[in-house]
Amino acid sequence: MAEAERHDEVARAESVRAVQSVAAQSSVDLAAAPAELSRWVRDGGHRRLSPRTALALQRAAGNRATARWAAGGARRLARAVPRMLLRLGYPLGMTIPPGGPTPLKDESDHREWKKSDFHAFWEQEQGRTLSDSEKAVIDHGCIGITANNLEGGGNPSLLEVYDNFNSAHDAMAKHNRSWWNTHVSSSQYVMFGMLFWSNQDPDPDVRKNPNPSAFRGDPVTHKVNMSGYEYRRQPGRVNFDYGFWDESTQSFWHANHSEQGPDKPMIVYQSTRNRFPRVIDLGGGDIRYGYVDFDRAVYGVAVANNYDPTKARALGQPAPAPPVTPPTPPPPR
């Protein structure tokens, strides 16, 4: 056995013993612990842990045991089996090869896909089938695509939101380079775009007009405080538009609307980073993004606990480079 592997074995065994010891001393029933942690102990520590379970491990065994086990993580990753060719669809602007799926609409910066094609892209890339409950979440439309990837349900977290693409992209890359994310957590940070209406007044008559000062980014950090956001729409308009950012195809995945039956099916949109929040100037300083429905474009950063972006690789493309924010013109403000 190589030295590195022996080190891993020792660290793993120590971590498992530490968990069992702490559990015994504090009368913690490991059978009642999170299922993944129980399995991890049973299997002798031979698997990566989700952040939630890693935290449970940390609580049970203490930081030192967790850190010792985690120190071997990078080497174990390097020994991982060669990855399959996986992708979330095709890059925009690239000709889809014969035999590939046919989009409903195909423009250089935007494609439209049947929902079943999107399901197939997702399943091919992630290497597993979508469950009925995950499909039901996706059926919520644009917000469903992002919600499914983040947590498999629930509204996407708006705790870390920026007023421009580059700031959010930098934050995502920084999170993914942290010690925790490179050694312990198997979940990656991802980002999503969000278009919405600034005026969240409960009175629809008041809400007709934009609120020029609401949901503006901090001039230094570019973070946007979304605590006052209530998912209210401009009266007579669509409520919002979310787009999940896909590094492998350099595009946002969003939708026309939620699933509304055979007469009004949900159609999945794939748009470039400029097309998704395209600027519409109504004059007089009234700027809208994507559609006239929205006067704010922001970008959220969150952990993807139900989707692994490291599996993403666009069809016909080389393996994705580590996330680096591409130079682009100033984003919409």
Binding site: G141, Y231, P235, G236, S258, G290, V292, D293
Partner: protein
């Protein structure tokens, strides 16, 4: 436009808006009319002033208004005016 005119042929004038629920016209007083069956205005018409004629209908909202802690549904919450069998032409701004 009043609800009494629903079902009648109407003529409206306003800005040709690219809206998330499809091509729409927003009149000077802020009333919104969606053009039935038209996803987008042609680029040379978008944001220009147009006169549209057709049959006025009301389209029911397609998603419920949900409390903020529930997973939201993407779409139109409100009932909206729709112009069926619409025809349109550009007009000079007033």
């Amino acid at each position: 436009m009043s609800s009494r005119e629903v079902g009648s042929t109407v003529v409206i004038e306003g800005r040709a808006d690219p809206a998330a629920a499809g091509a729409a016209v927003t009149t000077d007083d802020g009333e919104i009319y969606y053009i039935d069956g038209l996803d987008r205005w042609e680029p040379d018409v978008e944001l220009k002033r147009v006169r549209v004629s057709g049959i006025l209908r009301v389209r029911a909202g397609s998603v419920p208004e949900l409390p903020p802690d529930e997973l939201q549904r993407h779409g139109l919450v409100d009932d909206t005016f729709v112009i069926e069998d619409a025809s349109w032409s550009p007009v000079e701004a007033p």
